[in-house]
């Protein structure tokens, strides 16, 4: 799931300053799951913006909408009928959603209300953690299903740095040392042998380097 967090209202307000009629659009997928951009959050943010405007004597008009997904044309298209009535769209989607909406409506002002953060796992209620960086070259098989690229602060491929103590990462004591996890999982699964291999440098070109990545599945295209 893609996680995100709402931007501080101050920042949102500054972006919205030139506009009066605002369409606040949520997204019902990932960002709803992490309680950042779903219908509920649209309601809360809109309420807050309205109250704030009232307090500062500014007249604004807000309409609240939430799409099932903001990264798919068929859902974005639902905005077509209403979008012209507004000065600006405040999108509570991830960066992908914001850009997708912008692309469909070339002449409309689109602003992001969220900071898109990472690909995450819902660890427990109200806690999301990053555990994949979408590097395009998954090596979890040799790392006992713990991703060092994401979960080691230094992205080390060949064992831990010298900073880990009592299984915590030196950078953030709240975070377990990824390499500690890898070593103990390999030990538990009887695959410590995997540690003796020196892993060659990764192929980062699968993650970045040629502009935005694409996946094309010819069989899925009509």
């Amino acid at each position: 799931m893609i996680t995100a967090e709402r931007k501080p209202i101050k920042e949102i307000k500054e972006m919205l300053a030139p506009y009066r009629k605002i369409l606040v659009v949520g997204c019902g997928s990932c960002v709803a799951e992490c309680a950042a951009g779903g219908e509920k959050e649209v309601g809360l943010l809109s309420s807050a913006l309205r109250m704030d405007a009232k307090a500062s004597g500014k007249e604004i008009e807000i309409r609240e909408m939430t799409l099932d997904r903001q990264c798919v044309y068929e859902f974005i298209d639902q905005l077509t009928e209403v979008i012209d009535q507004y000065d600006v769209v405040l999108s509570l989607a991830c960066g992908a959603g914001v850009q997708a909406v912008a692309e469909v409506f070339p002449r409309v002002h689109i602003l992001p209300a969220l900071n898109t953060t990472f690909l995450g796992e819902t660890k427990e209620a109200g806690l999301w953690v990053e555990n994949c960086r979408g590097c395009g070259d998954c090596k979890l098989g040799v790392f006992a299903a713990v991703c060092p690229v994401t979960r080691c602060a230094k992205g080390l491929f060949n064992g831990p740095c010298g900073g880990s103590k009592t299984d915590r990462c030196e950078v953030d004591p709240d975070v377990p040392c990824a390499w500690q996890l890898i070593v103990s999982r390999l030990e538990d699964t009887g695959r410590l042998d995997l540690l003796r291999k020196v892993h060659p440098p990764a192929d980062w070109s699968k993650q970045q380097g040629k502009g935005p990545r694409k996946i094309k599945r010819e069989d899925q295209r009509t």
Binding site: K154, G155, F157, P160, S164, K165, V171, V183, W204
Partner: protein, 307 residues
């Protein structure tokens, strides 16, 4: 300027090596480096120059090494993978060799979040082991990563670091082996205060047969004060300072603490000399290079052999 690595010579000749560390200034004045070099000159075999240690911007390691080289010293170029991608790293390796630098110590580097540029983007394109492997391949096979041939191979004595005190402990010796497999020829360890733990680790290292394959230099940092001991124990990642050491520092009066620190360092070195498979010491007197001659002297490591 084709010279040899003095460190390599000392070690290969079976002598107990002494290296020290020199932190470059947070400025462009070459005299700082030169004066530190002067202090250490007759007391150590080689001088490590740190590479933006703890993520703080300092005069570059490569430049400082070049300055020391010009003074006739044998510098060890520390190179971290945090700040440069594989292109820059390999290019600097070639440059260092061209400048006559003959030792390189490959590290991943302290995380940028600890330094004065916490907003910096950490590069970590490759890790320290991959760097060791790359330098070794450049030197021995004349190839860079990916297989392209060099027109001339760099000449470098390749080192790596090890922290016997970090977790997972059991894996620490194996990790050393991985570094050796990758091509490391000498190892400088994290500062040793917990001798028991270090001995235990060395036992594991010997069991893996590594004591014969690599030169291990024990890390020594003289404590300046009880406060420093406490601070390091608490705040420096991967540091293991036993309670007795701290208490011993505390027991000494404030004016005597520096000397007590030196005494501990000396005792540690004397003990290290007795451990099988330890080939030398690496003294990291942090902003206290003046302490090095005394330590070397009292540890009966003077004079240093002529290389």
């Amino acid at each position: 300027m084709m010279t040899e690595s003095r460190l390599k010579n000392v070690l290969t000749s079976g002598k107990f090596a002494v290296t020290a560390e020199c932190g470059p200034p947070k400025g462009a004045d070459p005299e700082v480096v030169k004066s530190k070099g002067k202090i250490l000159r007759d007391h150590v075999d080689s001088i490590n120059v740190t590479d933006n240690q703890t993520g703080v911007v300092r005069l570059s390691s490569l430049a400082a090494c070049a300055l020391l080289k010009a003074e006739g010293l044998d510098p060890v170029l520390q190179m971290v993978t945090r700040d440069r991608n594989r292109i820059a790293l390999q290019s600097d390796v070639l440059g260092a060799s061209a400048l006559g630098i003959r030792n390189i110590l490959c590290l991943s580097g302290d995380h940028q979040s600890f330094g004065n540029q916490p907003q910096a983007k950490g590069v970590f394109d490759i890790d320290s082991i991959q760097l060791i492997q790359a330098v070794r391949k450049m030197r021995d096979a004349g190839e860079i990563i990916g297989g392209d041939k060099l027109t001339g191979a760099p000449q470098l004595f390749i080192g790596a670091v090890a922290n016997p005190f970090a977790d997972p402990f059991k894996y620490r010796a194996a990790r050393l082996a991985t570094k050796v497999d990758a091509g490391a020829e000498f190892i400088q360890t994290q500062c040793i205060y917990n001798l028991n733990r270090f001995k235990e680790w060395m036992g594991l290292v010997r069991d893996l047969g590594m004591a014969d394959k690599v030169y291990i230099l024990g890390g020594i940092t003289p404590l300046k004060s009880a406060k420093m001991a406490e601070y390091m124990a608490k705040n420096v990642a991967g540091m293991d300072i036993p309670e007795e050491v701290i208490n011993r520092m505390k027991a000494a009066p404030a004016t005597e603490q520096r000397q007590e620190g030196i005494r501990i360092a000396v005792e540690t070195i004397l003990a290290l000399k007795e451990i099988k498979g330890v080939h030398g010491v690496h003294i990291m007197a942090i902003e206290w290079e003046e302490a090095v001659p005394q330590i070397v002297e009292e540890s009966k490591l003077s004079p240093r052999p002529q290389a």
